[in-house]
């Protein structure tokens, strides 16, 4: 009689089933990871068998007609656009993070914080749309001609102003990784014990000096982690880059030139690669991208963890 409504019924067996299911779910995450590695390795095997791993990485020829594939132009394009993104985004997001945590009154903080969250939520394809319709014409008609006139002798700024290319893709990436770097930096700064800052202020430092002497040295490691997270996102971003980079698998010195990134070529060519070598080569590129973002993501999170953990124990 008591059994039906007795909350203490169904004890031990239920515990085991529950624990078991949870472990299954948890293990499932590891399985997903394993699947990604497995599928990518399996699909890319024919390409590596024919071309050789190091030849593939160092080759700069991408010719599906001759089944000759080299990853270098894409690695180059990915790195260049990510570099532009970092150079532009880091000062802006660190400044933004400092402003939000150290300088702004609460109301401004909430409004700006809300805007930054909005930025983070905009889908990549919408960034690409805006980039195509606004950023590229702007670059083509004003920015690139101006830069070309002023610094045209530098190879970085040579060539015709096409609008599309490394610069456009790099700038849109900068805008996209801004919220990532800023929000993680804010997180890192917030977990800092205020005693450090207050101590500096008590010794007569101005607000900026307090930041420079007390806050930044301790937050440096975590901010580096934030930057690395942003970098990871920049390396893997697909749609906005595909729409703005110009889709030319060549290595060019000029930032105005069109290029190609790892993620873009996979998105563009995967649906229609024929045979086993072409899709294999594309999957090989995916493997390279996977490896790099994995390494970066792991190190970044370790850094952030170390930074916030360390600060908590220093308090």
């Amino acid at each position: 009689m008591r059994r039906r409504n007795d909350p203490s019924a169904g004890g031990h067996a239920g515990d085991q089933v529950f624990a078991g299911s949870l472990t299954l779910f948890g293990g499932g995450v590891l399985v997903v990871f394993g699947l990604i590695v497995l599928v990518c390795v399996q699909l890319s095997r024919p390409a590596f068998a024919k071309i050789g791993f190091f030849h593939f990485l160092a080759g700069s020829d991408w010719n599906p007609v001759e089944d000759s594939f080299g990853a270098l132009p894409f690695i180059y394009g990915t790195l260049v656009t990510a570099a532009i993104a970092i150079v532009v985004a880091v000062p802006v997001s660190i400044g933004l993070a400092l402003f939000l945590t150290e300088m702004a009154p609460a109301r401004v903080r909430r409004v700006v914080g809300f805007f930054v969250e909005l930025l983070a939520g905009i889908p990549s394809v919408v960034y690409g749309l805006w980039g195509l319709m606004v950023l590229v014409p702007l670059l083509r008609s004003s920015v690139q001609p101006a830069l070309g006139k002023a610094f045209g002798f530098v190879p970085l700024f040579s060539g015709p102003p096409l609008g599309l290319g490394y610069l456009a893709a790099g700038l849109i990436l900068a805008i996209m990784i801004l919220p990532t770097i800023a929000s993680v930096s804010v997180e890192v700064l917030r977990t800092m014990p205020s005693s450090l800052r207050e101590g500096a202020l008590a010794l007569g430092a101005t607000r900026w000096e307090a930041i420079r002497m007390a806050v930044l040295p301790y937050a440096r490691r975590g901010m580096l982690g934030a930057v690395m997270l942003g970098l990871g996102r920049a390396l893997g971003e697909t749609m906005a880059v595909t729409m703005l980079i110009g889709n030319q698998p060549e290595i060019h010195a000029s930032l105005f030139a069109p290029g190609y990134s790892l993620a873009s070529v996979i998105a563009n060519e995967y649906a229609e690669a024929t045979g086993a070598i072409h899709p294999g080569a594309l999957t090989g590129l995916a493997l390279v991208l996977f490896g790099v973002t994995l390494l970066l993501s792991a190190s970044a999170r370790l850094l952030v963890r170390l930074s916030t953990g360390q600060l908590r124990s220093a308090a």
Binding site: L35, G95, F115, P123, V125, L132, T238, M239, A271, L294
Partner: protein
């Protein structure tokens, strides 16, 4: 002898301030410059956002109409038609993805919260963190290999698998955080009353963190709804309405991409309109998540 720099100089009356020694004036100037620079950074960060929002709203709103929401696309080069199938398609694919990603992600998160302190827990947590940084296009390739190739066709379910996998890592981590927020006293009280551990976890702890879980779920759904790359070679696209999971399906994001890179002015207009729809959808999900988070904070302690 030089006067010691006086930090109280800022508070003094003007006459005294004029006598402030120059090192202090330089430090104050630096402070002002750096503060100004940081404010400038905020302005730089906000400008593109405002531009995007303004353009999406101003250019997109012109495309919105009943036809836009309910009609299929017109043939290439002709004006008229709408994105009805793409809108429904996104809801459909993301809905299917929820069936895969939500239980998996929340389950993994509960695992991390309840039993995540051992070696397996650490491994899973680290893997989840690292997986959340994996580019979505790679997940698309995996879904292609796992679903499209054996099935021999592009399908909504392939797209759903890709999006579902994408949801899991971030959802697992946020779920873990939400569940860990539930105070131990609640769990211990329930156990003390004789409720079995598994019932405690499910009906006491999880139920308390429900608001937070819904928050996390909505945010991951919002992210999935905005994805394009994985869908390009899993769900592909479809010019018609589709409710069958084993057929290609249109989606808002893929449609925006196709329209944006096309040369037709009419399609560009539609792209802005579709972008507006997408932002509204994502915004609605995020706002609902926020509202629930707010309520949770004032809920049971």
């Amino acid at each position: 002898m030089k006067e010691q720099a006086d930090p109280m100089a800022a508070e003094m009356p003007r006459a005294v301030a004029r006598r402030t020694p120059s090192p202090y004036r330089w430090r104050r100037a630096t402070n002002a410059i750096m503060t100004g620079l940081c404010a400038l950074m905020v302005a730089i960060a906000v400008v593109p956002l405002i531009s995007i929002l303004y353009l999406v709203i101003s250019r997109g709103i012109g495309s919105l109409s009943l036809t836009f929401f309910t009609h299929l696309p017109a043939p290439v080069g002709e004006t008229g038609g709408g994105i009805g199938n793409a809108l429904v398609g996104t809801l459909y694919i993301v809905g299917l993805a929820c069936f895969i990603g939500l239980p998996f992600g929340i389950g993994a998160g509960v695992f991390l919260a309840e039993r995540g302190d051992g070696k397996l827990g650490h491994a899973v947590r680290f893997t989840a963190e690292v997986l959340s940084g994996v580019p979505s296009v790679i997940i698309g390739v995996v879904a292609y290999g796992l679903v499209v190739m054996p099935m021999h066709r592009f399908s909504a379910i392939a797209g759903a698998v890709a999006l579902g996998i994408l949801m899991v890592p971030t959802l697992a981590r946020s779920t873990e955080e939400m569940v860990r927020l539930v105070p131990r006293s609640l769990r211990e009280a329930s156990l003390a009353l004789g409720v079995p551990a598994w019932k405690t976890s499910l009906f006491v702890v999880l139920r308390t963190s429900l608001g937070g879980l819904v928050n996390a779920a909505l945010l991951s759904v919002a992210r999935a709804a905005g994805e394009t790359a994985p869908l390009l070679f899993t769900a592909l696209n479809n010019q018609y309405w589709n409710f069958r999971p084993d057929q290609p399906t249109a989606s808002l994001t893929v449609q925006i991409y196709n329209y944006a890179i096309s040369p037709y002015e009419d399609w560009h207009q539609k792209a802005w309109g579709a972008a507006l729809c997408l932002l509204l959808l994502v915004g609605l999900l995020s706002l609902t998540a926020r509202a629930l988070a707010g309520r949770r904070q004032t809920g049971p302690a």
